[in-house]
């Protein structure tokens, strides 16, 4: 089984391939050009360097949110197109799961926190279980205060991970037992995506490309920008 993992929920563009033998190749960049420019060449590069042709891919894994709209869209559109062209199934995993999974050895509560911009965060809480992690709260879009209140109410030791945790570390750590995971883990990566997708693929927990739906924790701004019709092509 060969899995192609595509991760674009945050500023990072991350592509990995792997399977039974673990992650065989990965490309990751967190600055520079934007997702749409970087992603397709990155997929090509990883496959070439790992000496895997796209025809060998049997599952396409993708981050299904929460995340930033522009990047998410590039990743989802690309992943769905590749799966459709190869006629292979897909596995969609939450970006918050991807942030928490690398910290699975801790016995603290893991808070995965993504910077949702506009003063908001996306977050969920996890705990260690044999062989991995388990989500103990639903993915939520909210403000830092909501998370802080949530953590205080639990009264447990917490490790916070993600670019939201890095950005708001002072507010989150103010006064209680919270550790912030190091910068290296701040963005979701395609390596845990391939690892988690592999476990799911063994259980055949996959979906067809047209069934993949993003989580969309945040509603679109239904405020209408009339000027977009000036910039846009119109019909």
């Amino acid at each position: 089984m060969m899995i192609l993992g595509i991760e674009t929920a945050t500023e990072r563009v991350s592509v990995a391939i792997g399977g039974h033998e673990g992650v065989l190749g990965m490309f990751e960049v967190t600055r520079g050009r934007r997702h749409a420019e970087t992603l397709t060449p990155a997929i090509d590069f990883v496959c070439r360097q790992a000496d895997v042709t796209l025809d060998e891919i049997s599952v396409v894994a993708v981050d299904m949110e929460p995340g930033l709209f522009t990047g998410m869209r590039v990743g989802l559109a690309s992943a769905k197109a590749i799966a459709q062209a190869l006629r292979v199934p897909m596995i969609a995993i939450s970006s918050l799961d991807l942030l928490a999974y690398p910290l699975r050895r801790t016995d603290k509560v893991i808070a995965a926190v993504i910077d949702a911009r506009k003063g908001e965060i996306f977050y969920a809480l996890y705990r260690q279980v044999p062989g991995g992690i388990q989500r103990v709260s639903e993915p939520t879009a909210g403000r830092v205060d909501d998370l802080v209140a949530d953590l205080l109410a639990r009264g447990q030791e917490v490790v916070c991970v993600g670019d939201g945790a890095v950005r708001y570390h002072e507010e989150i750590a103010a006064g209680h037992r919270v550790e912030i995971a190091e910068q290296f883990f701040a963005y979701p990566s395609s390596a845990p995506l391939v690892q988690l997708a592999h476990a799911k693929a063994l259980r055949e927990e996959w979906v067809n490309p047209w069934e993949v739906e993003a989580l969309y924790l945040r509603k679109p701004d239904a405020e209408i920008n009339w000027s977009t019709r000036n910039d846009g092509a119109g019909s």
Partner: protein, 349 residues
């Protein structure tokens, strides 16, 4: 797995392009052979999704494209009757348009091209509108004058040759389609404004109100902002006026100017014909008046079918074929360009 271009076959009459269009509120895919032969053309409109907001909401458009694109592409391939291994290139509109909408089509097209190991072609949506007319009448002789009327654009273009364009005139303020949308909204006729005005205008008297024809005899540029304002002022001063009369008189004022300037443009450059493009040219009065002009002048006027005037992917496939032939594939590290302009020969704008 090689990147685009390695296995590029010669671009000829048998070249099959899968084209994708997601620049605004239509999700479309098409297979076009040799730049002129439309094997399939599937358009899934999101109008219903946006109607409640009275305009296209970019975020909703992006999400809808993401949900609709895979089935639309699958249907375009099935309906074409050719096997997907016959696809020689994958094209997508890469501008102008809404960035979040464009990115869906561009990302999908590049990924399909990579997977199938065929070239990717990024297409200029405005250039594609010029090709929509040629798709139905490829034997049309150049040079042509193209009148492009859409929600975002009103322009007169001289098409001297494939890829060789000169801007003859454009709106200095609102696009014609925008004026229709704004007037429709003011008159409470619903969205989209073009068809709404068109429909009610049929019951109105086009000569009821003498709205201004701005810049009618003044070069080839357009201005519609003043017209929109005078409609609003007139209705405020005459609240008892029949809406159908206002709509008919407004529509006639717009079409009058468009027809008049297109004719002058054609005379000026000695064009063999005039081609209409863009969703705005689906307007029934405009089609009527242009047909009359063709009869009067003995100049060929090409009125593409309504399906070809509005956004579709067949026109993207046609433009892509010519671009692939002249420029070769587009690099896979090319993104989307929300403010892309038509490439003009003299660099003017």
């Amino acid at each position: 797995m090689s990147t685009t271009g390695k296995h590029l076959r010669p671009v000829d009459a048998s070249t099959v392009v899968l084209a994708i269009e997601t620049s605004c509120d239509e999700t479309a895919a098409s297979l076009v052979m040799g730049g002129v032969d439309v094997l399939s053309s599937v358009v899934s409109s999101q109008i219903d999704l946006h109607a409640q907001y009275g305009g296209v909401v970019p975020e909703i458009a992006g999400r809808a494209h993401l949900d609709l694109l895979n089935p639309v592409v699958a249907r375009a391939i099935v309906e074409s009757g050719v096997d997907e291994t016959r696809i020689d290139a994958v094209a997508a509109t890469h501008g102008p348009g809404l960035i979040g909408a464009l990115l869906v089509g561009v990302s999908a097209a590049k990924s399909l091209a990579l997977t199938w190991d065929v070239p990717y072609v990024g297409v200029n949506h405005l250039e594609a509108h010029l090709y929509a007319g040629l798709l139905e009448k490829p034997e049309l002789e150049l040079p042509l004058v193209v009148l492009l009327v859409s929600g975002g654009h009103t322009m007169l273009i001289e098409m001297r040759n494939h890829g060789e364009y000169r801007l003859l005139g454009r709106t200095i303020d609102d696009a014609a389609g925008e004026a229709f949308d704004k007037v429709a909204r003011f008159l409470d006729l619903g969205y989209p404004g073009g068809p709404a005005v068109d429909t009610i205008a049929r019951e109105g008297d086009a000569n009821a109100i003498d709205f201004p024809r701005a810049m009618r005899n003044d070069g080839l540029d357009f201005s519609f902002s003043g017209l929109k304002t005078s409609v609003i002022n007139f209705v405020r001063k005459n609240p008892a006026v029949r809406t159908a009369d206002v709509a008919a008189s407004f529509q006639t004022a717009v079409v009058d100017v468009l027809v008049h300037k297109a004719r002058r443009a054609a005379e000026q450059v000695g064009a063999k014909g005039v081609v209409l493009g863009g969703g705005g040219t689906a307007n029934s009065l405009m089609r009527e008046r242009f047909s009359a002009m063709a009869a009067a002048d003995g100049r060929r006027v090409l009125l593409p079918s309504r399906a070809m005037c509005t956004d579709n992917a067949a026109m993207i496939g046609a433009a892509a074929w010519y671009r692939l032939r002249s420029d070769g594939p587009t690099a896979l590290d090319t993104g989307a360009f929300p403010n892309l302009r038509l490439p003009l020969m003299d660099g003017s704008w």
